[in-house]
Symmetry: C2
Subunit: 194 residues, 2 copies
DNA sequence: AATGATACAGACAGATCTGTCTCATGTCAA
DNA sequence: TTGACATGAGACAGATCTGTCTGTATCATT
């Protein structure tokens, strides 16, 4: 029965607030009050708000990476299945109530300065995630893995944004069909290639 | 030789700063200093910063609508050509140096509260733009115009975001090919339908 | 009981933000 | 020349932000 550490409690509260209302919009004081921690304790765990922001992005990334690894283990040795499962998974996940878009894309908008630590971190996270997908595309025998990955990424990020500001029940189905069309074009053994 | 009005000068300066650095990140004082206008004059033109923000979004929207109308006039009576031209156009536009993403998507992230005037405005702008595209898809005889429009929107918004944070020379080509694949599937007279 | 570590509570500094208000200056018409 | 008015310059109020610092309470160990 480990008591949750102050750092974890702060991070949990901050994650919720940052995601729901935006990072810039949420002040330190609110996080402190809501996590029931003293200001001094807060600054012992995180030297600056930027540090907390980076930790927030990292924790979000960990969840995403774990999910991907789980899917990979679920369909061992079958990259095509892994890709399809990934598409199904994000499609479902997008139905979550209180869905507020991609934490990394949002952070990129909030911190456009490419030298800002949060911006650096999120670029790194995005690069790393999509290079894993690229790996999948390669392993699956895509004709042009870079092209397929880039297109899936566009479609996915756009799905995320559309879903964020204009929820429609049909979106997930539209997304899935478009993604599978892209996959099909690149992964079929050897069909009518345009 | 009409002298530019104070309002126009403010709006021009604010547009540049808002787009390049984000709306929340740019203070009134900077806009005032850079547009060489007195604070009182500023507040005569725009009662609040929110008003200026909404005006900024409106002016961006006008440019976009004009562009679309121009394309429609360029290929009269041919919605398919208009759609293709739209895709080509955004593809080219995305190569602009200092490209910083879609002003409306960015604003949506900066003002997630759906009641915020800027959020209301940008939702309206987005809805209006994509209903025009839907019209095009209908006129062009798409099999499922809603589906095609939603998919094009996802692809486009994702292109915008990817382009924003990870510029790659190949993106425009990948986008164009994916968009045309979607178009093809929906607009060919009567081919192999999946 | 004494001590040291840790945490809460919150005052405080210093910066920055929006929006109001004052005042000096310039312009134009009568 | 004079009066009405618009404008630039900027002080100011009040709020809010991050981050520092002080003081007090709690708890484990000696």
């Amino acid at each position: 029965m480990n008591k949750e550490s102050a750092r974890d409690r702060i991070l949990r509260v901050a994650s919720e607030l940052f995601y729901m209302e935006g990072i810039r919009a949420v002040g330190i004081d609110r996080i402190i009050k809501q996590s029931g921690v003293a200001k001094a304790s807060f600054y012992r765990s995180f030297a600056t708000k930027d540090d907390l922001t980076v930790a927030y992005l990292e924790s979000r990334d960990e969840l995403k990476v774990e999910k991907l690894e789980k899917l990979r283990r679920l369909y061992p040795g079958s990259p095509k299945e892994q890709l399809s499962a990934l598409i199904r998974d994000v499609t479902e996940q997008m139905g979550t109530p209180n869905y507020r878009g991609c934490p990394f894309l949002n952070a990129a908008v909030e911190f456009p300065d490419p030298d800002h630590p949060a911006h650096v971190k999120l670029l790194d996270i995005q690069r790393s995630f999509w290079s894993r997908v690229l790996e999948l595309a390669r392993e699956g025998g895509a004709r042009q893995p870079e092209e397929l990955t880039a297109q899936l990424r566009m479609l996915y990020d756009g799905f995320v944004m559309k879903r964020y500001l204009d929820k429609s029940d049909l979106d997930p189905e539209y997304f899935r069909k478009a993604a599978e069309l892209l996959l099909e074009k690149q992964l079929v053994p050897d069909n009518h290639q345009g």
